[in-house]
């Protein structure tokens, strides 16, 4: 059985109407019946008493003149009254004079006359009424009327029942109207809500039928739907945006991964190409340097023999020319040496071990002093400076750095070159410092390039290969080199030699951004 809660509003309203009308009708019916019974009794008594009076009045002469026939006839007229069961006339002395009885089935018992009164006995009304003419009591009328209140109550109940049925029918009719004005709109709203839920179509709207509570409900739901529609639209736009962004990202990722895939290949290819070209270049420069040396030696040997053996046959000008030839060949020899050194440092196999840099620096300084006795340079070498490196290559580094320092400070009377150790950003760093001419930091980028010079060869001799060579050695050790300077205030070259060398033997052909001074 369905619970009341699940019943439709129409049924509920109908039930409410039916219940209330039933209750009110029942109460009203009960009150009416009770009231009616009282009134009915009173009216019955009044009616019967009046009837008794009329009968008495009509019969008074018959009673007076002892006309039983007339009296009986008069009483017989009571047949018109169905409720009168028995009637009788008594003489003034109390003798039964005439009688009337409605039906044989309900025989009347005419007892002794009683004084005028109306009394109710067993749903029957007994009336005794005096017959008086001109103040003379002629006798008594007796009436017995059936009240039949049970039948009356039943009749009332039947009426109330009929009204109840009518009210229910009216209620059904009313509920069909209500269905139009209450249930129908509610059902429509429910349908819209359901459609919205199922189809997610927020553009649906409930149709408003009136300004009642249901109308307000319709408005509220429509407003809700409008908001939901706006929210859904926003959400949709955001989703679309997100989706396009995701697609873009995916595309970018694909591109990147494709690029990565080719990049590795390209890097490998380039590296190979680079290695090949490096090797070709090195072998080329080595063979060129080596092959150049032979004719150069011939030029130098024969020009010096010419000068030694045939000087008398040459005038001063000729001798001067020969001297210039020799100087040029010596410079060229130096250049070839440097180029060969550069090629060597690139090609030579690196054998790292613990190297006493202080010792190497001492040797280098000593050789420099012997080579250039004209320079008044003080060498300050910090002791016990050690590193894990190739000693041959480190000698090249120190020869070049100390040589440069001495060269660019040698013209000063208090020239000073210092080789030491310091900490730069927490890592071991060696430095070579001089108090020479220095250089402009704007050209620091050119310091470590081959054949790059910041000063003219007339001012300071040099091939422009030294620092490139140094940079290559430091790079092969996995370290870095840079310089710090200011024109006229000396220069400092820093380099690091990491204890753990990188796995690969890096050929530093490109020129990293360093600072320093090419010579």
């Amino acid at each position: 059985m369905r619970r009341l809660r699940d019943a439709s509003i129409r049924v509920k309203l109908l039930g409410l109407i039916a219940l209330s009308s039933m209750l009110s009708l029942l109460v009203a019916g009960a009150v009416m019946v009770a009231y009616d019974l009282v009134i009915y009794k009173r009216n019955s008594i009044a009616s019967a008493t009046t009837l008794a009076e009329i009968v008495g009045s009509i019969s008074s002469a018959a009673l007076a003149f002892g006309d039983r026939k007339a009296a009986t006839e008069y009483l017989g007229t009571l047949r018109a009254r169905r409720d009168i069961q028995c009637a009788a006339l008594y003489t003034s002395s109390g003798q039964l004079f005439a009688s009337y009885q409605r039906s044989e089935q309900n025989p009347c018992v005419f007892g002794a006359v009683q004084k005028a009164a109306a009394l109710v006995e067993n749903d029957e009304l007994l009336v005794y009424h005096g017959v008086v003419e001109r103040g003379e009591r002629l006798g008594t009328v007796y009436l017995r009327a059936s009240l039949d209140r049970t039948a009356r109550v039943l009749r009332y109940a039947a009426t109330v029942g009929a009204v109840l049925v009518g009210a229910l029918l009216l209620g059904l009719f009313g509920s069909s109207l209500m269905r139009r004005s209450i249930s129908q709109p509610l059902m429509e709203i429910a349908g819209v809500a359901q459609a919205v839920t199922q189809r997610r179509d927020y553009s649906l709207r409930a149709v408003k039928r009136g300004e009642d509570e249901i109308g307000q409900l319709t408005d509220a739901i429509n407003q809700m739907l409008a908001q939901a529609e706006r929210g859904a639209a926003d959400l949709k736009r955001a989703n679309e945006r997100l989706l396009s962004e995701i697609e873009e990202h995916l595309r970018a990722r694909d591109e990147v991964s494709a690029l990565n895939a080719t990049l590795e290949q390209r890097v490998a290819e380039r590296t190979q190409q680079l290695e090949m070209s490096n090797k070709e270049l090195q072998s080329f420069s080595y063979s060129v340097s080596h092959d150049l040396r032979t004719p150069l030696r011939a030029i130098e040997g024969f020009s010096s023999a010419l000068l030694r053996n045939h000087a008398s046959q040459l005038d001063t000008r000729g001798q001067d020319y020969l001297q210039r030839v020799r100087a040029a060949t010596q410079r060229m020899s130096l250049l070839i040496d440097d180029l060969l050194s550069l090629a060597r440092t690139a090609r030579a196999e690196m054998k790292r071990r613990e190297v006493d840099l202080s010792d190497l620096a001492q040797k280098s300084a000593r050789e420099l002093q012997e080579a250039h006795p004209e320079r008044q340079v003080e060498f300050v070498i910090h002791p016990e400076l050690k590193a894990d490196a190739d000693p041959q290559l480190m000698r090249v580094v120190l020869d070049n750095l100390l040589g440069n320092a001495a060269k660019f400070s040698g013209k000063k009377p208090d020239a000073r070159v210092e080789f030491g150790h310091t900490l730069h950003n927490g890592s071991d760093t060696f430095f070579v410092r001089d108090n020479g001419v220095g250089f402009d930091m704007n050209y620091a980028g050119k310091l470590f390039g081959v054949f790059q010079r910041l000063h003219s060869s007339a001012e300071f001799e040099g091939t422009g290969i030294g620092l490139a060579n140094v940079h290559r050695v430091i790079a092969r050790h996995g370290g870095t080199i840079w310089a710090d300077s200011e024109p006229g205030r000396g220069a400092t070259f820093f380099f690091t030699l990491p204890a753990t060398p990188p796995t690969g033997d890096v050929h530093a052909e490109n020129h990293p951004a360093g600072r320093g001074q090419p010579r």
């Binding site: 006309d67 003489t91 103040g135």
Partner: protein, 202 residues
């Protein structure tokens, strides 16, 4: 006049006796069938005179005299009886204890030579009917309810004339005469009458 009187008297007596005997028989039958009614039946049987006397008195209840008929409010109702002393005696006895419409009742026995007029109710025995005939003109406009006992044409009859029908004392009423005498007789009484002379169409 005499034979007429005799005839009338004789027939009246015979009728009375016959009525009485029948009444007795009826009473005997009725006693067995309906013990209720036995007392009244016996009483009726006991005295037709008394019945007539009672009737005369009862007419006082159902007849309205013009106000001029009574001298004042307390004036007694006068019943004159002509030629029936026995009835007068019974009437006198009854009148002692009766009042009609608040008035005392006086009974007057009329001797020969007494004027018939002057009473409210005048009972004329059958033997005195010629007197009634003689006084008819003088009584016509007087407010007197004349009562005769079994008068038959061509003898004059009063406004009320006792008759016996079906063994019961009944009466005829001359409504025309009553109207002429300015008497208003209750319709209830008219309804009980054996016959009513002159339709009361007013």
């Amino acid at each position: 006049m005499e034979p007429l009187k005799r005839t009338a008297s004789g027939s009246s007596a015979a009728r009375a006796w016959r009525a009485c005997a029948l009444a007795l028989a009826c009473a005997a039958a009725n006693v067995a069938a309906q013990p209720h009614n036995s007392a009244e039946v016996l009483r009726r049987e006991a005295s037709e005179l008394e019945l007539k006397a009672v009737h005369l008195l009862k007419f006082g209840d159902f007849v309205q005299w013009p106000a001029s008929a009574f001298g004042n409010g307390d004036a007694p109702l006068l019943i004159a009886v002509a030629g029936a002393d026995a009835l007068a005696a019974v009437l006198e006895a009854l009148a002692q204890q009766r009042r009609v419409d608040g008035r005392a009742v006086q009974v007057r026995r009329l001797r020969r030579g007494d004027a018939l007029a002057g009473a409210h109710i005048l009972f004329v025995a059958t033997g005195e009917l010629e007197r009634l005939a003689a006084a008819q003109e003088s009584l016509r406009a007087a407010a007197v309810l004349t009562v005769t006992d079994g008068s038959q044409p061509p003898q004059p009859a009063g406004i009320v004339n006792f008759v016996v029908r079906d063994n019961r004392l009944r009466f005829e009423i001359d409504a025309e005469a009553a109207e002429a005498a300015h008497l208003r007789i209750s319709s209830k009484v008219l309804a009980l009458a054996v016959s009513v002379k002159g339709a009361r169409q007013r």
